[in-house]
Amino acid sequence: MAQTKLQPDMEFVRELQAAGGDSLKKCFQCATCSVACPMSPANNPYPRKEMVWASWGLKDKLEKDIDIWLCHNCGNCADLCPRGARPADMMAAARNMVYKDLMKPSIIGKWMSSAKGLPFLFAIPAVLWLFVWWIMSLVNGGQWFPRAEDGRIVFGQIFYGDYTIDPIFMITFFGALFIILKGAMKLWQQLKPEGTLLLIGKDQPWYYHLYDLVLDEILLHKKFADCKSGPATGVKTPQRQLSHMLLFYSFCILAFVTAVVAGGHWLGKIWPAIAVHTPLPFFNPIKLAANLGAVMLLVGLGMLTVRRIRLNPKYQSSSFQDWYLLGLIWCIGLTGVLAQSFRLMDFAPPAFFIYYLHLVFVWMLFAYLPWSKLGHLVYRTTALIFARKYGRG
């Protein structure tokens, strides 16, 4: 029999531990976790095998593993784990490693993996928007906190939509979109086994499975409910289906509203009939939808944040990626509300400064999408399409 020598990759193990899997070495391979997970398939179940791969630092095994994307992080495995090895955290850490390593420039992935990188992540848009601010202050006769002719505070004087915000954000958004879609294709290639795969039954194209996935899983977040069908753990599982769904739909609504407003603005220049002019009146359906989206965002975000704060560190904890995303969305929401408040209260310097921060945070959300946990909306979707196409999960 051929012998294979297994060389543990300790560097990778340390990276995994830093990315949230710090207890993985406690695992003694009892396989409780594979049973605790009701979603884990009967054939080659997870996360026990991932735990042993993680202990040995088998990076390529974990990178190519479809199962880390089947996991919805409910924590049943961690609740029943006899050793406190926290398999759910290790699965999340393995996903964090994919966010970190999948796309170049890899330095961004590195910054995204610990609080040490935060100053760099913040500095890039901070300098960018400060530069814009400086240029526009020159346009405004050297005034950093200018006022309109009627004395009102108008953010557009500094951060003028057509020439600053829109082009920068369009480049950022479409750039990030390009990178993340390339990432999705790379992930697909990574997941695909070498050689040819025999498929039994009709081979459907990926978009067929995407349609199926949206209808079957994403619309109602069915998998979150499935998490409850496992063995009785005796531990109360917090509500995640509703909170994640609120956040998901609020993102959908807000993305739609933004698309309508931006599209109406730009296309309106060519075809005036569909032009949208802001500010919209309060009872305009688009405005109502925007406000509904904002409320849903706050409620969902609040619920998810409370859940993370309440996690018992004996069973589950949160990684930097988790807090980065939640924190960033909070920052965007809070600076948005505060900027508007200061503007209405007529405090020009804080109003402009907070609005500036708001732009910095929004830029961070879009620009770092391919390396952040939010990237899961593309990466996980890709993996789940893969799982459907090749019959797993």
């Binding site: 003694f28 391979q29 009892c30 396989a31 409780t32 976790c33 594979s34 049973v35 605790a36 884990s40 398939p41 009967a42 054939n43 080659n44 179940p45 026990r48 095998k49 609740d79 029943l80 784990c81 006899p82 050793r83 406190g84 496992g230 063995p231 009785a232 753990t233 005796g234 004996k314």
Partner: protein, 411 residues
């Protein structure tokens, strides 16, 4: 100052400690909570290392106690207070009433005529018993016990005139002057109702390993046949769930040391009773300390025993009162859902002191094992110290006796 020694607990290690100290010339008092000496060993069908019935090893101990006037024991007794210091303690012992005459009257006929019934604690929930009972044929002391709370009105009337029964007997308090203490409070089977994912004790025909011992015992509730509690049928297939609550931070955070051996022993019982039975043992890893590995070899050689690496993490009731288990075979990487006629949870040992407190301060570790007290002349023996088999319990009893003797001698 006193040269006497108090032994708390009349199980195998406590008896050994008491006898060894007495045979070295010290007065010894044994305080036992239950009505009989012998402890957990008395409940076993057979025990290691030689697979003899408990009557064998215990009988020798009981003889040594009978013949040694230096040993005094109190059953149905509890230590309620302790004052003084090393070398000169005053222990207050409360002795519950037994309600029967001091000599060994045979109440078998009278007991069978009573109406009342109570849960049989000795049979671990597998049987009921009359309120006038003797737990085992070789019981020591050989006296019956009366549980008046389980008597019907007619029973009470029937017993009222019996000159060997005194329903008015009251609890007694005894004060003892002693110099050292041996804590041999032993263990209890881990409470299965805490094992939520293994059915929390509510799945029919899913029993504990100690219940199997009682069934296998010739004087147990089934007369020695290991059968399904629901229909008394011999199981065609049976599974053992190892580490049921042991090595688990949510339950007992340590290895109970003995459950693997208990399971191997019970595989032998089962194979002997029914050569066609199919047995599957689900384990994380099998621990067979020292020469016990030979028992593993013996069991592995049986054609009807299968070992599967993987901890059972889900047990639910299935059709026909069978038990469905879910487990990942960690070697093959397959998640199995298998149904068995009967399932045995190999539950571990929890030190009694984890749930019951002594009336004096004694350092315990986080699991409830004794972790100190020697400077105060208090020595732990047996499973109060750590999970042990019978042989090692006896050794630790001797060790504690020697330390106690050295304490009262003043060296």
């Amino acid at each position: 100052m006193s040269n006497s020694i108090l032994v708390v607990g009349g199980g195998f290690s406590g008896l050994t400690a008491a006898i060894e100290a007495a045979e070295l010339g010290h007065d010894v008092y044994i305080v036992e909570k239950t009505p009989y000496l012998g402890g957990r060993v008395a409940q076993l069908s057979k025990y290691f290392p030689k697979l003899c019935p408990p009557s064998c090893g215990l009988e020798i101990q009981f003889q040594r106690i009978r013949k040694n006037p230096r040993i005094k024991f109190f059953t149905q007794a509890q230590l309620v207070a302790l004052t003084g210091k090393k070398g000169n303690y005053t222990a207050t012992v409360s002795v519950a009433p037994r309600y029967v005459a001091a000599h060994n009257v045979d109440f078998t006929l009278l007991a069978s005529s009573l109406e009342g019934e109570k849960n049989n604690d000795f049979e671990l929930g597998l049987a009921k018993e009359k309120p006038l009972y003797k737990s085992m044929p070789f019981a020591f002391p050989g006296r019956f016990v009366l549980a008046p709370e389980a008597l019907s009105a007619a029973d009470k009337a029937k017993l009222a005139g019996n000159k060997f029964i005194n329903l008015a007997e009251e609890a007694k308090t005894v004060e003892l002057n002693i110099g050292a203490i041996v804590v041999a409070t032993g263990w209890q089977p881990y409470d299965v109702t805490k094992l939520t994912n293994l059915g929390a004790g509510s799945v029919k025909n899913c029993v504990s390993n100690m219940q199997v011992e009682r069934m296998a015992s010739p004087f147990g509730p089934t007369g020695g046949a290991i059968v399904r509690p629901t229909d008394k049928r011999t199981p065609a297939n049976i599974a053992f769930v190892q580490c049921a609550g042991s090595r688990d931070q949510n339950h007992l955070d340590y290895c109970s040391y003995i459950c693997c051996m208990a399971t191997l022993k019970q595989c032998l019982y089962l194979a002997e009773q029914n050569s066609d039975i199919q047995i599957t043992v689900y384990y994380i890893d099998l621990r067979t300390p020292g020469r016990y590995v030979k028992v593993l070899d013996k069991v592995k050689a049986l054609p009807n025993v299968h070992f599967v690496k993987g901890k059972v993490a889900n047990a639910v009731q299935a059709e026909g009162d069978t038990v469905s288990l879910q487990v990942e075979d960690a070697v093959r990487g397959e998640k199995l859902t298998v149904t068995y006629d009967m399932v045995v949870l190999a539950t571990g040992m929890q030190p009694s002191l984890a749930t019951e407190k002594l009336p004096f301060a004694l350092p315990l570790d986080e699991d409830g094992f004794v972790a100190g007290g020697e400077e105060a002349g208090i020595f732990a023996a047996g499973c109060a110290r750590m999970p042990l088999d019978v042989m090692r319990s006896a050794q630790s009893g001797t060790a504690a006796a020697l330390k106690a003797v050295q304490t009262v001698k003043g060296r």
